[in-house]
């Protein structure tokens, strides 16, 4: 497994590099944003450890560029500030996990293992409906190339609707497929989630068919994206 370690502090870099090598990773190290962006763009890494406070280009910008270029490599961000707003902007840029400094090396290794396990799932084709795309492998969805921020229930809802796009799906069917056995199966809550999903993907994409249920369709004029 190849890991890209992006960290500007020399001591911490040395320690992490040692720990990662000991854990069996092939480690490349970048000390600033520019170098990190170049390496991440050219080398096929399995996972990236990215510090947010970097010289030249900051971590969030580096991550944004990778995601814009279509790189789906899982990224774990390291933040020293510890403010939730930093974590949120990291996630908006496309991060998969965060760790607040100072942290235990063991925890970093555990998180990396989890990320790799997640991304190693069997390859599934990307789903699309007009400008809407959903990548089940990375568990990410985009609308016109912009990443969507979805909770797991919203993601499952969208996933199910995209697999059955163009067909009217009843509320009961949605409840049965979205909730586990132990959840309260209140079909009214589906309306709440449909409402939230509409707000995120665009209201016109999800059509309400009175008395029957909902239907996901591409917008008028949108061609089926390649």
């Amino acid at each position: 497994m190849r890991v890209l370690l992006v960290e500007d502090d020399a001591d911490l870099s040395r320690q992490l590099k040692g720990a990662l090598s000991d854990a069996g990773y092939a480690v490349d190290h970048a000390a600033d944003g520019e170098e990190a962006h170049f390496l991440g763009d050219t080398e096929p890494y399995d996972v990236v450890v990215l510090d947010l406070g970097l010289p030249k280009i900051d971590g969030v910008s580096v991550l944004e560029r990778w995601r814009r270029d279509g790189k789906t490599t899982p990224v774990l961000i390291l933040t020293a500030r510890g403010a939730w707003s930093d974590k949120v902007s990291g996630f908006d840029a496309g991060a998969d996990d965060y760790l607040t400094k100072p942290f235990h090396t063991e925890e970093l290794l555990a998180r990396l293992r989890a990320l790799l396990r997640r991304s190693a799932g069997i390859a599934v084709a990307t789903l699309s409906c007009g400008g809407l795309r959903l990548d089940p492998k990375a568990a990410r969805a985009t609308v016109n190339g912009e990443p969507l921020r979805l909770t797991s229930l919203e993601y499952r809802l969208l996933h199910y609707m995209m697999m059955h796009q163009g067909r009217v799906i009843s509320r009961t069917e949605l409840v049965e497929h979205l909730y586990d056995q132990d959840f309260d199966r209140d079909s009214n809550t589906i309306e709440v989630f449909i409402g939230r999903l509409r707000k995120k993907v665009g209201a016109d994409r999800i059509e309400t068919v009175r008395g029957l249920g909902y239907r996901l369709t591409p917008l008028a004029g949108e061609t089926e994206a390649a």
Partner: protein, 476 residues
């Protein structure tokens, strides 16, 4: 300094007492002036009208006296008056009269001749008339008959009298003329009534005009007051509208103050962030260095690094909270948005546990405070819930009465026994040394919530785990 204080006190007198209405003051002042000015005007107009009417009557009386004087000739036993061809003085009780009399040495008055119109009656002689006539020989004196004269007509008369000497007689003679003044008085009364009605209408009109002027004139001030209130309630970030010259500087100063506050907060925050960065990377290095080594030194470094980390976190948040408190004015943060971004992020972070966050919040619910602070509060609570949950985390928020909101974060984890709930809110307490994270989450939430005048209480959830209830200020 003393000069300034004195000047300040001097101005204080014009600024008015606190708690009094500016509108009422302006309207009272203007109304008082309008009433005084209109009353004076009314009084001057009516008295002038009456005086000019009396002057006209006086002229007529003077003419009559002149005619009588010309027609009068002295005789040894009195006077004779030749016939005067003036119809009103001939017709009985016509309203126009003359009389000739002499003042006896004892002060009594003896009538020498009178107009036929008097029909034997006598013109009213004012008490001090003889004395005053003698004091001003030849002058015309005028006065009103108080109206006791002569039933059945009861004519109120205007009377003129003059003391003159006649050729061939040593004793001076009093010539008097009288004329009915009831018409003139009715005229004057009618005029006065018109004047007072007109002035009253004018006065009411002016007071209304003043009221409107004050209302319209002070409207920008009311608008500014509302805008400032909106800023305070978190409905607006700054004063947006342009105002008239007089109060535009005030609006600008308010904005400058808001900017300044914001700047101070931002600076503090950047400073705190930089400090965090500067301290935490070395702490990471120390922690990593000590890890994996089994010796007493490494153990001490590991433990002390944890303590330092806790201290740094706590004091950095404190500094941030203080900066926010100094900021004072509220910002509007949509609660649903913050819960949503936290839920999306945390579900991803805790994906290996397959944690599901079910959240409900009305779309229009907004927290009165900074977004970063709500992120901090909810982020820590929700992260904590995810950490301890088996699978499910529930977040529900809603408005609760005036200017308040409640947010509840629950999980289906093991929960906390009642006696430990208070302890976890204390700084640095960590109940489980093995759980990832600082263990400071809840005490930070408690600190921040208190800084907003809110409250954090812990209880048991029907999901089985911990239930954290937040009370926070809400924006309207």
């Amino acid at each position: 300094m003393t000069d300034e204080t004195a000047a300040g006190a001097g101005w204080g007198r014009f600024i008015g007492r606190p708690g009094r209405s500016l509108t009422r003051r302006l309207i009272w002042l203007a109304s008082a002036w309008i009433v005084v000015a209109l009353a004076a005007t009314g009084w001057i107009l009516t008295t002038q009208y009456q005086e000019s009417a009396f002057r006209r009557l006086g002229d007529m009386l003077s003419d009559t006296i002149d005619e009588v004087v010309i027609a009068t000739v002295a005789t040894p036993d009195g006077v004779t008056v030749a016939e005067i061809r003036d119809a009103p003085t001939l017709r009985g009780l016509s309203g126009k009269y003359w009389m000739v009399a002499e003042v006896l040495p004892d002060g009594a008055v003896r009538v020498l001749a009178r107009s036929p119109s008097l029909a034997g009656e006598t013109l009213y002689i004012a008490p001090e008339l003889p004395a005053r006539l003698q004091a001003s020989m030849g002058d015309l004196l005028t006065y009103n008959d108080p109206g006791i004269l002569r039933p059945p007509q009861r004519q109120p008369l205007r009377i003129a009298a003059s003391l003159k000497t006649l050729p061939g007689r040593t004793e001076p003679v009093v010539f008097m003329a009288g004329i009915d003044r009831s018409d003139i008085e009715a005229d004057t009364r009618e005029f006065a009534a018109y004047v007072w009605i007109a002035l009253l209408a004018l006065g009411v009109g002016l007071v209304i005009a003043v009221f409107l002027q004050v209302q319209i004139g002070l409207r920008p001030l009311f608008a500014l007051r509302n805008e400032i209130a909106n800023v305070r309630k978190g409905r607006a970030a700054r004063i947006e509208h342009a105002y008239p010259l007089e109060i535009q500087p005030l609006a600008e100063q308010v904005n400058r103050l808001l900017d300044h506050n914001q700047e101070v907060v931002e600076r503090q925050r950047t400073h705190v962030g930089n400090l965090a960065h500067a301290l935490k990377t070395p702490l990471s290095v120390m922690l990593a260095e000590a890890e994996g080594k089994i010796d007493p030194l490494a153990e001490i470094v590991r433990r002390q690094t944890e303590v330092m980390k806790g201290q740094v976190d706590h004091h950095l948040r404190r500094a941030r909270a203080a900066a926010r408190a100094a900021h004072g004015l509220g910002e509007r943060t949509p609660v649903g948005e913050v819960i949503d971004e936290m839920a999306v992020m945390l579900e991803r972070v805790f994906q290996s546990k397959d944690v599901e966050i079910d959240w409900r919040a009305p779309d229009d619910l907004a927290f009165l405070g900074e977004r970063q602070d709500l992120q901090e509060i909810l982020g820590n609570l929700m992260e904590n819930a995810c950490k301890w949950s088996t699978r499910r985390v529930r977040v529900s928020a809603g408005a609760s009465g005036l200017g308040q909101m409640i947010a509840v974060v629950e999980d289906d984890g093991p929960g906390l026994p009642e006696d430990q709930r208070a302890a976890v809110l204390k700084r640095g307490t960590r109940l489980d040394e093995d759980a990832p994270g600082s263990g400071l989450g809840l005490s930070i939430v408690d600190d921040l919530t208190r800084a907003y005048g809110g409250r954090l209480t812990l209880g048991a959830s029907d999901l089985g785990g911990l239930k954290a209830v937040l009370e926070l200020p809400a924006a309207e």
